[in-house]
């Protein structure tokens, strides 16, 4: 069952944010990894297969879109969602154009997020 579940990498420089999301997703049965920076996230991505990348946009070392670009070098078809506390800006627009699925405003509507994952899971399973 676990092996069949989606693996999600949550990246947020706020440990509380990352931790609370990881805990929720873990309970909901996802294989969850957490990173607090872009570099840490890329390390995880190199070691583990990840289906979905959920990343904050504004982070100290690199922003969410830059992370997406690096991650795609490892997983070209990596499904990526952005989280942001800020208004839509140029970086996000750019990311969307490059293949990022969607942007979620903070505070997150967790139910909507879970629904989104369920739908995504179906896609990914079919593809597999």
């Amino acid at each position: 069952m676990m092996s069949e579940s989606l693996s999600i990498l949550v990246v947020d420089d706020s440990p509380s944010m990352a931790t609370s999301l990881v805990d929720i997703l873990d309970i909901k049965g996802f294989e969850v990894y957490a990173a607090q920076s872009g570099a840490e996230a890329l390390e995880i991505l190199r070691e583990h297969a990840v289906d979905i990348l959920l990343t904050d946009v504004k982070m100290p070392d690199m922003n969410g879109v830059e992370l997406y670009r690096e991650a795609r070098k490892i997983y070209p078809n990596l499904t990526t969602f952005l989280m942001t506390a800020y208004a839509a800006d140029g970086i996000i627009q750019q990311g969307m154009a490059e293949g990022i699925r969607t942007v979620l405003n903070k505070p997150l509507n967790i139910d909507f997020l879970l629904t989104l994952f369920s739908v995504t899971m179906g896609f990914i399973t079919k593809e597999d």
Binding site: S14, S16, I24, P107
Partner: protein
């Protein structure tokens, strides 16, 4: 038969005595000479060899005043009669002889006066000829005829011989005596020059020689020889001498002497014929008479000719002298220029041109003429020489020796000879330099005047002193009034004046003409041709003639319309200044308040943006945390679940506030499109459904045009208004949403029947951070206003506390 006036003068005692003495003197002389002559009668005819009384008679009449002549004639007639009687002539014959002699003298006198006029002085050949022909020949011949008839009839004498003798003796007497008396009577009028003593000596010598020569000639006649005969005629040169040197006076005197000597010798039988022919006494008489006549007549001709010639020369000399004086001493320049170019100039011309006479003569006229006038002078000269004109007058410039220009008013004419050839030019030159210079100055000053008058940028006008009619106007004044020069000259100063200013102008102008004031300056209005009223500063002067009559009014008219208008504006401004300052202060205060509000908004926007975003992260964590707690405690107590819900609700509220803040901060891009009002309203009501206590009614006409706006922003605005309305009607009420077109806008009206807004709150209603609600940070209406304005619309409000509020949103019609 004399008139009284004459008789009075005539008979005054002294006059009478003088006249009587004159007549008596003449009669005495006549009587003496007649008695003497009658001694020389050659028998048998009883006619004197020479009869000088005839000359005395004629001379006496001619020398006597006209009114005295009858008396004289009468007196001499009686004298002659007496003399004849005393000589033993029969009474009747004496009477006839006296009558004939008188008639001869009267006739001669009449003829001479008729053809020559008095006085005759034997200085003109014409007088001499007239006397000889009329008196000596004609009158004498007639008298002799009468005498011959008388002699033959009464004395039995030969008619022919009597006639001959009478005529000869009478004629010779006349010939010798008349010139003597008349020429000597005119002595006073004869000028003999300065050498009187020399003349007297010469005269003396002449007469001594004359007497001597005559005496010798006749003395030698006793010896028969052709030489002695010739000698008698050689007395003639002495007559010529007398004639040439002493004229008729001298000749007549010489003639008398010669006649006396000749008669003396003839009477004594020592005359030519006696010697040569031994003839009868009568022949002797004839010989003497012929001798005298032929000696005297040519000589007297010569003498008269000489006299006339001398007089002519004297007259010519006097005339020449006059001319010379006129030429030389004239005050104006004169010159005579020969056709050959030689010229003589007078003193005035020399002075005028600064040359000496010799210098002037040696210069050609071209050298003393200004180069520019040489052609003119040549033209005039040619015209005169061609006979085109007789005389010319023109003005030309001469060159003074010192190089200065002398203006000459030149009059010149040509003297022609009888053959029609030009002889010389007579030229008169008046120095005109001063006048020409004065004229030039006048012209210059006139030009200056014209220039300053006509080319002045300031209006100038001349007007008649009484009527004020314009006499002269300049273009600047024409432009000022809008009339042409021709139109203005038909108008008066008063006519052009604005009615309210007419009286003052008129009275000032009149006082000026009466010399009460010397000049005046007035700011007044004129009416232009186009009816516009213009202002001018007018200064007026008056010119008076020598008698003090006003001659011309001169006006300088300066356009001050702009200044006046500016003054008027200034006056208006100053009147409204207080108001304006107040209004301006208000504007300023409002602007300042606006500025403060805007600054407040800007700061708030930045703050809101920053804070809003930063708060989202912790809110997101809280949100996730609560979600997790709910997830891990499915069996939690009601109390815990209640708390979970509280946390979730407040996160939601916080998020809403943050969104408001962000909306306000983000004057994000406006994405305008065509929006249907009905759809918009419906979406809003779906999103914000009315609570149960509120009844919603819509009034949206079907044909309402679409508006051009950002639909999401408008939803937010209307949603905000609707939510506000719900909150104002917690106790229930009605919400009406209506719309209508108003010009190019659509008004969407949201009307509630809620608590309303107090008037003190109305003003701050749209300011950020103003709120009457317990909850909320007061950004809703501020954001709404900003969004509406960003979409080209506006938002208004009216409210009645306790009765409800009405919000009106105006949005532009989509007219693309």
């Amino acid at each position: 038969m004399k008139d009284e006036g004459h008789s009075e003068t005539f008979f005054t005692p002294s006059f009478l005595v003088r006249n009587v003495l004159w007549i008596a003197g003449a009669a005495l002389i006549y009587f003496s000479v007649a008695r003497l002559s009658l001694l020389l009668i050659f028998e048998p005819e009883g006619i004197a060899a020479i009869w000088p009384p005839s000359g005395i008679f004629l001379s006496a009449i001619l020398l006597t005043r006209r009114e005295l002549r009858p008396w004289l004639v009468g007196a001499l007639f009686i004298t002659d009669f007496i003399a004849e009687m005393l000589a033993g002539t029969p009474g009747i014959v004496s009477l006839f002889y006296a009558l004939i002699l008188t008639g001869d003298a009267v006739l001669s006198t009449w003829l001479i006066l008729r053809f020559v006029g008095e006085p005759i002085t034997f200085r003109r050949v014409r007088e001499l000829v007239a006397w000889l022909l009329l008196s000596v020949v004609l009158s004498n011949a007639l008298a002799s005829l009468a005498a011959a008839v008388v002699s033959q009839a009464l004395l039995g004498a030969s008619f022919w011989k009597s006639w001959q003798e009478w005529m000869a003796s009478d004629g010779v007497g006349n010939l010798i005596i008349t010139p003597l008396i008349l020429s000597w009577a005119a002595w006073g009028r004869t000028r003999w020059g300065d050498r009187k003593i020399k003349r007297a000596l010469e005269a003396t010598a002449l007469f001594i020689l004359l007497v001597l020569f005559n005496y010798l000639a006749f003395s030698l006649l006793t010896e028969y020889s052709l030489f002695s005969l010739l000698l008698t005629y050689l007395t003639f040169p002495f007559l010529l001498w007398a004639a040439l040197r002493f004229e008729v006076c001298g000749l007549a005197f010489a003639s008398v002497i010669m006649a006396a000597i000749a008669i003396y010798y003839a009477f004594n039988g020592h005359f030519i014929n006696n010697i040569l022919y031994q003839d009868s006494p009568l022949d002797t008489v004839i010989t003497v008479q012929l001798y005298l006549a032929f000696m005297v007549a040519p000589a007297i001709f010569l003498a008269t000719t000489v006299a006339e010639r001398r007089q002519f020369e004297e007259a010519l000399g006097a005339s020449e002298d006059k001319f010379k004086h006129m030429f030389e001493y004239s005050n104006v320049g004169k010159s005579i220029t020969q056709v050959s170019g030689e010229k003589s100039a007078n003193r005035a011309l020399c002075e005028m041109l600064g040359y000496s006479r010799e210098e002037l003569q040696s210069h050609k006229w071209q050298e003393i003429t200004h180069p520019d006038d040489i052609e003119l002078t040549q033209r005039v000269t040619d015209a005169l020489l061609s006979g085109e004109k007789d005389a010319a007058r023109f003005t030309k410039r001469y060159l003074h020796k010192n190089g200065s220009v002398v203006w000459g008013d030149v009059s010149t004419s040509v003297r022609w000879d009888e053959a029609g050839k030009p002889l010389y030019f007579m030229t008169t030159i008046i120095d005109n330099t001063e006048r020409v210079q004065a004229e030039e100055m006048l012209r210059d000053s006139e030009e200056l005047f014209r220039d300053s008058f006509y080319h002045s940028g300031i209006g100038r006008a001349h007007a008649e002193p009484m009527s004020g009619r314009f006499l002269r106007v300049n273009p600047a004044f024409c432009e000022f009034t809008g009339y042409t020069e021709g139109e203005l000259l038909q108008k008066t100063l008063i006519e052009l004046t604005f009615p309210e200013d007419r009286e003052s102008t008129f009275s000032l102008f009149r006082r000026l003409a009466l010399q009460e004031i010397r000049t005046f300056m007035q700011e007044k209005r004129f009416i232009r041709k186009d009816g516009a009223i213009v202002w001018a500063n007018v200064s007026v002067d008056m010119l008076f003639d020598d008698e003090g009559h006003p001659m011309i009014g001169t006006a300088v008219i300066q356009d001050i319309t702009e200044r006046k208008q500016a003054e008027q504006k200034l006056k208006e401004y100053s009147e409204h200044l207080e108001e304006m300052v107040e209004a301006r202060t208000r504007e300023l205060r409002e602007a300042q308040e606006q500025l403060i509000r805007q600054e407040k908004l800007a700061v708030l926007g930045q703050l809101a943006g920053g804070v809003g975003h930063e708060l989202r992260n912790p809110l997101s964590v809280i949100n996730s945390a609560v979600y997790y707690l709910k997830l891990v405690q499915p069996e939690a107590s009601d109390k815990i679940r209640q708390y979970h819900a509280m946390i979730e609700q407040e996160v939601h509220n916080a998020e809403k506030i943050i969104n408001d803040l962000l909306d306000f901060a983000r004057l994000g891009s406006v994405d305008r499109e065509s929006v249907n009002i009905l759809g918009l309203v419906k979406r809003v009501l779906e999103r914000f459904p009315a609570p149960a206590c509120v009844e919603v009614s819509l009034d949206l006409p079907e044909g309402l045009p679409k508006v051009f706006a950002d639909p999401r922003q408008m939803e937010q605005v209307l949603g905000n208004l609707v939510v506000n309305a719900y909150q104002a009607m917690r106790e229930g009420g009605g919400l009406t949403i209506s719309a209508h077109q108003q010009m190019q806008m659509v008004a969407i009206i949201v009307k509630d029947s809620g608590v309303g807004i107090s008037s003190e709150n109305m003003q701050k209603l749209f300011e950020p951070l103003f709120t009457t609600k317990a909850k909320g940070i007061g950004l809703g209406l501020a954001v709404s206003k900003k969004l509406v304005e960003a979409n080209g619309g506006r938002i208004e409000v009216s409210s009645e506390p306790g009765r409800g509020s009405t919000f009106m949103v105006y949005l532009p019609v989509d007219d693309r």
